[in-house]
């Protein structure tokens, strides 16, 4: 499997992403024929807008949603891969170790108390607070879980359990004390679904998805060296502290804006890098970009499925990723126990 040429695999992933993009735009409660899809897109691109139902459905409803699911998928998968590299442990997932929970508390705080800070970039309160919550938890778990001999999986996951318990308590507390209007906003957001997608949310996530992508060339070597061990990385000339700071901030940013825009979506950061590692090996040079593409494709497909399976209702996509991801995680744990886990 490892001989799979990285470039070919990336091309395959791009095709998959393109396919899921087109499918997600065309399918739904109203199926749009490929012809009118092309017509609407060309119209929008050339500035010569064809008004009508097709344009409404595709450009104003589905497009932001598809873009958001692609961006969030890329963000979650990339930060999953980065966090796993940082922890030297393929079982680290932003949602399992509490990073998403921390971001959720930040976001909930912003929603419930947000009015009081309206003087400060009101549009950005939500992602900003989510980022701070996420960064705090990442740094905390790192402190707790990483010793001189590497990470203790047990400590890391147990810390995650405790942090997740705390964060859900915090959110419940915030929900009980919130005013009615804010409570409605909070509950709506907590459901964690892409049906709240908007171009504004796309504009939150896009810069940080791009930032993570652009940082890959500066991170992959260091992350590879870090897998050898912290002092080994230092002896190879890597500034481990700086690398760690960068990864924590990037992951917290990417997870933070994702959580702020669509709520907590678990297991993407665990499953996606795992599949890419199976195909391309653990080299971060390809792992990070591959995870971005596959995460984008898989989450947009998952959202499409969430829209279609119980039509005319809609599943929160977080329910779907948890239903698929949690058994996968259990499978990894069992494999690991048998000592054959790929990667541990």
């Amino acid at each position: 499997m490892f001989q799979t040429r990285p470039l070919a695999f990336h091309c395959l992933l791009l095709l998959l992403l393109l396919g899921s993009f087109i499918l997600s735009l065309s399918l739904g409660s109203m199926t749009v024929a490929t012809g009118s899809l092309v017509e609407v897109l060309l119209g929008r691109l050339s500035g010569d807008v064809v008004t009508g139902t097709a344009d409404m459905v595709i450009w104003q409803i589905r497009m932001p949603r598809v873009c958001l699911s692609i961006l969030v998928g890329a963000c979650l998968a990339m930060s999953g891969a980065m966090v796993q590299g940082l922890f030297r442990n393929p079982l680290a997932d932003p949602s399992l170790i509490g990073v998403s929970g921390g971001a959720a508390v930040g976001a909930a705080l912003a929603i419930v108390l947000g009015g009081s800070w309206s003087w400060f970039a009101p549009d950005w309160n939500l992602p900003l607070f989510a980022f701070m919550g996420g960064a705090l938890v990442t740094a905390l778990v790192y402190r707790l879980g990483v010793g001189p001999l590497g990470t203790s999986v047990a400590t890391m996951l147990l810390a995650g359990v405790a942090i997740n318990a705390m964060t859900s308590a915090c959110i419940s507390y915030l929900a009980t004390t919130a005013e009615d209007v804010r409570l409605r906003n909070l509950v709506y957001w907590l459901m964690g679904s892409f049906n709240v997608a908007s171009w504004q949310k796309v504009s939150w996530v896009a810069p940080f998805a791009l930032l993570s992508l652009l940082m890959i060339p500066f991170l992959w070597k260091g992350l590879n060296a870090l897998l050898l061990g912290e002092s080994e990385a230092r002896h190879l000339g890597i500034q481990v502290e700086r690398l760690r700071r960068r990864v924590i901030i990037l992951a917290a940013l990417a997870v933070g804006v994702s959580v702020a825009s669509v709520g907590v979506i678990g297991f993407v950061g665990l499953v996606v890098p795992h599949i890419v590692r199976l195909m391309l090996g653990p080299d971060h040079r390809w792992l990070l970009t591959g995870s971005a593409l596959l995460g984008a494709a898989l989450l947009s497909l998952a959202d499409l499925a969430a829209r279609l399976v119980v039509e005319p209702l809609e599943l929160p996509v977080g329910v779907l990723t948890a239903a698929l991801g949690a058994p996968f995680f259990l499978f990894l744990v069992v494999q690991r126990r048998r000592g054959q886990m790929y990667g541990v």
């Binding site: 490892f2 001999l149 590879n224 061990g229 090996g281 080299d283 541990v344």
Partner: protein
């Protein structure tokens, strides 16, 4: 063999939690020399190693490398001239062995072709070509140790303008069978011949006696003897330090001291 010390320790000592793990130690390691450090468990070998590798900061004294205090070296420059092989490595991701070895070229900007050629050469020398495509995680302890050795050798294989090269090894033979122990020590000797200075912590006195130019013996965090194998491998010293009755005879084949207990 040059005469200016590559590695120079002056009054180097380390205290932690009220205990002195290393008494003030002075030692010069000359260019191209192979210096072995021996001593029983808890003698301070690992402490010394961590101070020399810069992992721990000394409580007093200092380490000079190539005329500059260790603390003044930048990580990036140090990585070009000095390689460190720790006792065990925690790599738990399935890199191909060749990719692990290639990581040794990370500090250098020599380009892909040069790096690949060096990796090939080192793999041949270390007898690990047959492991090249195997996953590191699937290798035995001894194979991993040889791959790690190949990685650190790759790091300092070529002379660099920056300065003289140094290799620090912490018990590199601990997981090896007899044949590979001898191969590895012979290899380290050959590297010395290529003008790399070596400091190696060795468990086996006879390996040290056969392959080192000089030996430092540690006991309770204190250097008790420094000198040529003949000077250090004395029955009285070994009995005092290792608490075993031993005889030292001349090795029938190599003429070096041979410790028989």
């Amino acid at each position: 063999m040059g005469s200016e010390p590559v590695l120079q320790m002056t009054g180097l000592s380390f205290r932690a939690a009220g205990r002195t793990l290393l008494q003030p130690t002075d030692l010069h390691v000359l260019e191209g020399e192979c210096m072995a450090v021996v001593g029983p468990n808890g003698a301070g070998k690992s402490t010394l190693f961590r101070l020399l590798s810069g992992e721990w900061a000394p409580s007093a004294g200092q380490v000079m490398f190539d005329g500059t205090p260790l603390a003044k070296w930048s990580l990036a420059q140090l990585a070009q001239v000095r390689a460190v092989m720790p006792q065990s490595s925690s790599l738990s991701f399935p890199f191909a062995a060749r990719d692990v070895i290639l990581m040794g070229r990370m500090p250098h900007a020599t380009g892909r072709e040069v790096d690949a050629a060096i990796v090939e050469e080192v793999m041949t020398v270390c007898d690990v070509q047959h492991l090249a495509q195997r996953h590191y995680t699937a290798l035995s302890g001894g194979e991993r140790q040889r791959v790690q050795l190949a990685r650190v050798l790759t790091q300092i294989w070529q002379p660099v303008a920056l300065g003289r090269r140094l290799l620090l090894l912490d018990e590199p033979t601990s997981a090896l069978d007899l044949a590979h122990q001898l191969d590895l020590m012979r290899l380290i000797r050959d590297v010395c011949g290529k003008a790399v200075t070596v400091l190696v912590i060795v468990h086996d006195l006879n390996l040290a006696a056969r392959f080192a130019d000089r030996i430092m013996m540690l006991h309770n965090g204190q250097p008790v003897a420094v000198g040529s194998p003949d000077e250090v491998m004395r029955p009285d010293l070994i009995e005092c330090v290792f608490n075993v009755k031993a005889q030292v005879i001349e090795h029938p084949l190599y003429g070096c001291p041979l410790v028989v207990s």
